[in-house]
């Protein structure tokens, strides 16, 4: 049976330290001013009822991925586990996928001149049974990663205990990334 990967982002535990973003840059050698992953922070509400809101910006690994269906050369493709990858050999950098992505997860790597995005660290870590680097570095355990087919995995247990929000769920892209929304403070 294939894997059903899921990445959970707990907005209650995130402190906005950006360690995940920095670790990602180091792991993948992301060029300056470009990002596979950002955690955006915003102060919301009116004094004294203020609260911080955090938003993870990265590929959400859609099951029905618009970037895959628009790619003319199958450079943007899904593997057997449904993870979306980029085959750099056949990418012509037409940027059609960048425009098609509703999550703004993609960019052109100016050094390699190909399209790039978060790949859950598949090559370097997940395929070797390691956690994605952002998950393993997170100091507050705001990130969880695992296989939903394993009943005793943390993501399985958390997903069945908590109310999850799937980003832009109305688009029916069926993301593999879900958020645990803020329970305290200001809601957006």
């Amino acid at each position: 049976m294939g894997k059903a990967y899921r990445l959970l982002y707990d907005e209650n535990a995130c402190i906005g330290c950006q360690a995940c973003s920095v670790a990602c840059r180091v792991e993948h050698g992301v060029p300056e001013d470009f990002f596979r992953l950002q955690v955006r922070m915003e102060l919301k509400g009116v004094f004294p009822r203020l609260g911080m809101s955090y938003e993870r910006m990265a590929c959400v690994m859609c099951e029905d991925a618009p970037c895959v269906s628009v790619c003319p050369t199958f450079a943007s493709f899904q593997d057997k586990d449904g993870l979306v990858h980029i085959d750099e050999r056949v990418c012509i950098t037409c940027k059609y996928c960048i425009l098609a992505c509703p999550y703004h997860a993609r960019f052109v790597n100016p050094l390699k001149n190909v399209v790039e995005k978060c790949d859950f660290c598949y090559e370097s870590r997940v395929s070797k049974a390691l956690l994605p680097v952002c998950v393993s570095i997170c100091p507050t355990e705001a990130l969880m990663f695992g296989d939903m087919n394993e009943r005793d995995s943390l993501v399985y247990e958390t997903s069945h205990k908590e109310a999850l929000i799937f980003p832009k769920a109305h688009l029916k892209t069926k993301p593999k990334v879900a958020f645990l929304p803020k329970r305290k403070g200001m809601k957006s």
């Binding site: 628009v70 003319p72 050369t73 450079a75 059609y96 098609a100």
Partner: protein, 322 residues
């Protein structure tokens, strides 16, 4: 100043720039001018003058192949990796409008090039370095009994070219201004209007001896109808966005009211592109005399207007995301 989490530049980039806008213009020009040439050939030919080819057909036969070749060159050069463009010809993803476009272009481009050779057969004969083409022309002429069917086929592929440029954009639901079924229809109508304008202009400049006033009048009446269709189509595009949820409605509001691109829409697309030609065509047709100056001005404003429309759609779509 960049925020704590880093630069936002990547998220505010315009990924498809002027080259794509100009390609959309050139593809519309090519398909529009060949459709107009075929319409003249089918509807007005027996009333034509001494030459067997009306000036409108001649200009269509020149403009269509040259503009599509120029457009394709631009498209390839604009790729991040121009030299790997050949993958487009090897791998086809039928759910991708870009792949479908490649297939349409592979059908369309050779046929318009052969059409040009047939129309300019005598010129080809004149130059010895073109002599290898004579055999090709003779071979194609053998098919003369199928001429009408081939012409219909060419017309359909031209329709595919002008509409695919619209579907290319409208397939992306991440971009509210593009994600509308009106866009392909809008692109077809504006490419016909563009075809009429350019064919008349090129006809007046280079093929004056075979100009037929009646053909021009026929095209100007057609242009009037096309422009009167384009205005409500543009209205429908935005009305559709207002009823498609908050995100689309915000994008539509911004695209019509904020910044440089909103100004360009009202001044360039509506003013120069549609109202001005409407005015000149009505004056040209009303005066019942064939006044060259009106016709030339009309052609120029239509050309500028269609180019601005393509620019506006490409840029405003990527900038105003709602």
């Amino acid at each position: 100043m960049s925020p704590v989490w880093g630069s936002m530049a990547q998220y505010e980039m315009v990924h498809w720039s002027w080259a794509i806008a100009v390609y959309l213009f050139l593809a519309g020009l090519s398909s529009g001018s060949i459709m107009v040439a075929l319409l003249v050939k089918w509807n007005r030919h027996e009333r034509s003058n001494s030459s067997i080819w009306d000036a409108m057909i001649k200009s269509g036969a020149v403009v269509a192949p040259l503009s599509i070749l120029l457009g394709l060159l631009l498209l390839v050069v604009d790729l991040g990796r121009p030299l790997s463009f050949y993958w487009l010809l090897i791998r086809y993803n039928i759910t991708s409008v870009m792949s479908l476009g490649v297939l349409f272009l592979l059908l369309y481009t050779p046929i318009v090039m052969v059409f040009m050779l047939l129309v300019f057969e005598r010129s080809v004969m004149k130059y010895t370095f073109l002599s290898p083409l004579i055999a090709l022309i003779q071979a194609v002429k053998e098919l003369h009994s199928y001429a009408k069917i081939i012409e219909y086929f060419l017309f359909v592929t031209a329709l595919c070219i002008s509409s695919y440029t619209g579907f290319l954009l409208s397939a992306l639901y991440a971009i509210p201004l593009w994600n509308s079924p009106i866009l392909p229809i809008l692109f077809i109508t504006s490419s016909i209007s563009l075809g009429i304008a350019v064919n008349i202009l090129i006809g007046l400049l280079f093929f004056k001896s075979t100009i037929n006033e009646e053909s021009i009048k026929y095209l100007l009446v057609l242009d009037l109808r096309v422009i009167l269709t384009e205005l409500p189509l543009l209205a429908l595009l935005f009305i559709g966005m207002f009823y498609a949820g908050a995100e689309s409605a915000n994008a539509a509001k911004a695209a019509l009211s904020q910044g440089f691109w909103a100004g360009l829409f009202w001044f360039g697309v509506i003013g120069v592109g549609l109202c001005l030609p409407l005015l000149t065509v009505m004056i040209a047709l009303k005066s019942h005399v064939y006044r060259i100056s009106y016709v030339v001005i009309n052609s120029m404003v239509v050309i500028v207007g269609v180019l601005i429309l393509r620019y506006y759609i490409v840029y405003a779509g990527q900038i105003y995301l709602g």
